[in-house]
């Protein structure tokens, strides 16, 4: 918690207003950031014990700085899976982040604290990161909106990496308008991030009122219609039906894309943490340690082949977007599992890893840096479910048009848990 700094920032906003100065489009809006982001004056622990020994960050991460420059008030840093290598935020060092809709269940991860903070009514905006689903999965499981932008659209400067090929920065919010405003605030070139796109961003707030006329929208089948509960698959069909979608398309080799994403993520994460694994393996979270040790042992040929396959897959999916503007798919295969759930889950005749399988629908998309909004279905049962809206690179504005339509028609809406009043 950053109580003193937050109060000081709020007082500064008041002074600017009193002086007749523009305090910014997010003036006074509280927000929080996953503790993967540098925040000036505090240590970036990245969900770890090892990073907790480091000195405080000298400056804010770019995305944090841009929100603060717009007048938003940073109130705290949020829990996550250690080094972002997880889908559940079951953090052995700092405790599990609980789902506000059912405290016995996970919030998802690795940006679980960010999603839970918004879903729990603590803040209206939060920052997270997404490498294989770490914004989209917790957004879906907590019933809020989450945006994983196009790869390189939002600066990663000042963010501890997991996998350089796939790391994205993005916002969580309670509604589409807030999500769009947050994205417009943080998006754009940044010379301090070598992977940041130099092209100017397309503002998304003005796109919200444009409607969906003329958009070619399709439901993803194949890989995205298997190994999930009926409710999760029905969520995507419900959104498709509301948009009048009648067409289903298939992404070729999506399952293989997911495998390649796992290989690249593991190789890059294992390489990044190799020195720490050599020196302090016992200080890692057991939930990540053995996975990172294994990751560090993969052969280089595997990494190169996976990157070659990525080029092939990117070209194939570009052909799909020649005929389609927006694709729909479930975000997660099921609702939030229990904290401490068994390692494996049976779905139909197939046994899958309970935690890893949460990324079954997200990984093939972040593999090639496509922009995705996870929207929370308003008609889900007692536990939230999300739907992915997917576009070609740099078409976030198109996604926001669809999200705004779904929200206006009541098909999607955040489920924010309010504390009981006395």
């Amino acid at each position: 918690m950053l109580q003193e700094q937050a109060l000081a920032d709020a007082e500064a906003i008041d002074r600017r207003r009193a002086a007749g100065q523009d305090p910014g489009p997010l003036a006074g809006v509280p927000f929080a950031a996953k503790n993967l982001f540098d925040i000036a004056g505090i240590t970036t622990v990245a969900g770890s014990k090892i990073h907790a020994d480091r000195p405080a960050a000298a400056r804010d991460a770019t995305a944090v700085a841009r929100l603060r420059a717009a007048g938003a008030i940073l109130v705290g840093a949020l829990n996550m899976d250690e080094y972002a290598y997880g889908f559940t935020t079951e953090n052995t060092h700092y405790g599990a982040t609980r789902n506000p809709h059912d405290l016995s269940r996970i919030a998802g991860g690795s940006s679980g604290g960010s999603a839970a903070a918004v879903a729990g009514g603590l803040v209206p905006l939060a920052l997270g990161t997404d490498t294989n689903g770490s914004i989209r999965v917790p957004a879906a499981l907590c019933g809020v909106f989450g945006l994983k932008p196009t790869f390189g659209r939002v600066s990663r400067a000042g963010v501890v990496p997991l996998a350089w090929s796939f790391d994205h920065v993005g916002p969580f919010a309670r509604d589409v308008a807030d999500l769009a405003l947050a994205f417009d605030t943080i998006a754009g070139p940044d010379s301090t991030d070598p992977a940041c796109a130099t092209r100017a961003p397309v503002p998304c707030v003005p796109a919200l009122a444009r409607g969906v006329d003329g958009l070619r929208i399709a439901l993803l089948g194949g890989h995205f219609a298997r190994l999930a509960t009926d409710d999760a698959l029905a969520a995507a069909r419900r959104a498709a039906s509301a948009l009048g979608v009648r067409r289903e398309v298939t992404l070729p080799e999506a399952q293989r894309a997911r495998a390649a994403a796992q290989v690249i993520t593991a190789c890059e994460a294992g390489a990044y943490h190799l020195e720490r694994l050599r020196a302090r393996a016992a200080d890692f979270d057991p939930m990540t340690r053995d996975r990172l040790l294994a990751a560090a042992l993969l052969p280089a040929t595997a990494y190169v082949r996976a990157q070659r396959f990525r080029a092939w897959f990117r070209a194939c999916v570009a052909n799909v977007f020649a005929e389609t503007d927006v694709l729909l798919a479930p975000t997660t295969p099921w609702t939030a599992p229990a904290i401490g759930a068994p390692w494996f889950t049976r779905i139909g005749d197939t046994e899958v890893p309970t935690r890893g399988h949460l990324g079954v629908f997200t990984q093939p998309l972040s593999f090639i840096g496509l922009p995705v909004i996870s929207v929370p279905l308003s008609t889900a049962g007692s536990l939230p479910l999300g739907v992915q809206l997917i576009a070609a690179p740099f078409n976030e504005a198109t996604l926001f048009r669809v999200a705004a339509r779904l929200e206006a028609e009541g098909v999607v809406a955040s489920r924010v848990v309010r504390a009981p009043t006395v």
């Binding site: 190799l274 050599r278 053995d290 042992l297 996976a306 070659r308 092939w312």
Partner: protein, 62 residues
């Protein structure tokens, strides 16, 4: 596409030595299990007949 052989603990220790990692004996079995899973993913990617001309996705600009 055949499944890759299960990675055993001896294999883990051999690979770890090659990258200068000393793995606590208490962790080796779990590492072997995770490496088996990762090698299965490697096998899935290997099973795709990529055109020889396909270059890796990231490109370097000097």
């Amino acid at each position: 596409m055949s499944q890759p052989p299960r990675t055993d603990e001896a294999d883990v220790l051999r690979r770890a030595a090659e990258v200068g990692l000393i793995i606590d004996p208490a962790f080796v079995a779990a590492v072997a299990q995770h490496l088996t899973g990762l090698m299965a993913a490697v096998s899935v990617v290997d099973g795709f007949p990529l055109p020889e001309s396909t270059e890796p996705a990231p490109s370097f600009e000097p």
